[in-house]
Amino acid sequence: MTSSAQIEKRIVLRNYGKIDPNSIDDYVKAGGYSALKRAVTQMQPAEIIKTVKDSGLRGRGGAGFPTGLKWEFAAKAQGSPKYIICNADEGEPGTYKDRLILEGDPHSVIEGMAIAARAIGASKGFFYIRGEYVKPIEMVKKAIEQARAAGFLGKRIAGSDFEFDIEVRSGAGAYVCGEETALMESIEGKRGESRVKPPYPTDEGLWGKPTVINNVETLANIAPIIENGAEWFRAIGTPKCTGTKVFTLSGDVVNKGAFEVPMGTTLRTLVFELGGGIPNGKEFLMAQVGGSAGGCLPASLLDVRLDLESLREVDGSLGSGALLIVDDSRSVLDVVRSCMKFFEHESCGKCTLCREGTARLARLVDKIAEGQANTEDLKLLERLSRIMERTCLCGLGQAAPKPILTTLKYFKDEYLIRVSDQATPKGA
């Protein structure tokens, strides 16, 4: 068995547990803020963007959009001022990587934001942190003050004429606010309902101005890329999905924790080597990859590589990198039910198909789990899921059916043994 130190590759978690996160001196001693200095004194915005583009870095918030390209769109967009937002609303069940990054190394994210600001020409940034993250909010606020005092934020950064500052805003308990346009509505002080896209945020984002929004983990990758170059980053991970990913393990697994590994590491390595396998003499039943909006994968897919493309091939998604491990003493449908309850509760209600659809899906799954459904219900479940995937307004409604569709694909028997045509088909 390989040791975990050989499997793990720490870029984002480079300082985690090694430095005092409350000390900017510690961060600087570990090489911190030297990439920002370089970016503002020796690099042109176009050069920063090119480096990030060449690195192949893709967003770690779930959608996997190429980061450099996003920055280029915003840099070229008409309109001023421009904004950069750090998305720290982390609400995908099973995900706690952003919290660990913020608690372990807040300056790494601030530095990434400042470099992004320099690249797109923003002078103001927002750090949107979910309201439940009381400690990270305090730590980030403190780190911002320290960075200001040290001349890494504010006017004349690192002696240049570049000016940039960050304001912290906190969420108030709404999963949908992690969706980029809902988040912008929330910063504007409104109800966090998703907007229709296009226009995309890089053209018309916060207060209608060109805006880049990036995930915490995405931003924590920036300084090392500037420091070590695009080639270095590209050498890690897979050709299409470069760099590392932080995965967070939860559920029925021995070592519950966060592991940063090269993109493309297998599910088996995460569960059985880093995760230490299934406790209490039980067997692996399934892993839900990417949070409640992610696919449920059976044991036969343990060798799937965890990267955007490989997971898409098996109808799953990388999502936030959450790995919920479930052992064979539990029921697949019980997990699906809990996911559907979550979406029913978190739908923002703006579009009817998601508002009504999430509730309908939840009732149908209840009915099936309780053995009250017939084959017509099963067909309806699948049809409604497919329609929602294609036509809901935002990613919440589009991804909500994923646990259903993947369990229908990989655990069909779990449904079939519970439905009977003897049951009377009454309005689902």
Binding site: P93, G94, R130, E132, R169, G189, K190, S250
Partner: protein
């Protein structure tokens, strides 16, 4: 404003506190959510009177403030107990037994989800993932997170809050 209500009868002290919060954010665009957060921290919840007063001070419609106050689960337009318990019921916590935890709290406090104990000490709610899933099942009481919960642990935690109350009464 198209509002038929008279200016609410808030005490001068309450009005002064609201002025202070609103004043602090006066140059900050889109600060409504931040203001409501802070106001709730002072008064425990966002009453109609307080929402009307805040919207007047900000020059926005009351319906806008109300719409925001009711959208977010951390904001409340109804009074709640002194301590708010939020039990996580999302996937990982569900798998690790949040149902049992919820049940044991209901038994211990003799209330259901959404209810407040008759002494006003606790309100029980459920919540989506708190981001501490490696310590599932988990809950939050006010600003504090508790993980790796068992029935016994929950009972001890609840009693520690109840004792604080008894100590302050005597």
């Amino acid at each position: 404003m198209g509002c038929c209500k008279e200016a609410p009868a808030l005490s001068a002290e309450v009005d002064r506190q609201l002025d202070e919060v609103v004043g602090k954010h006066k140059d900050q665009p889109g600060a409504l959510l931040e203001i409501l957060h802070e106001v709730q921290r002072i008064f425990g919840y966002l009453s109609d009177d307080v929402l009307i007063a805040v919207s007047k001070k900000l020059g926005i419609r009351t319906s806008e403030a109300y719409g925001v106050a009711t959208f977010y689960s951390l904001l409340s337009t109804k009074p709640k107990g002194k301590n708010i318990i939020r039990v996580c019921v999302s996937g990982p916590c569900h798998v690790m037994g949040s149902d049992t935890i919820l049940q044991s709290i209901e038994d211990e406090l003799q209330i259901g989800v959404g209810e407040t104990t008759s002494d006003g000490l606790f309100t029980l709610e459920t919540t989506s993932c708190l981001g501490v899933c490696s310590d599932a099942p988990a809950m939050m009481i006010n600003d504090k997170v508790y993980g790796n919960l068992t029935k016994e642990k929950v009972r001890m935690i609840l009693r520690s809050y109840a004792e604080v109350k008894e100590a302050s009464v005597s």
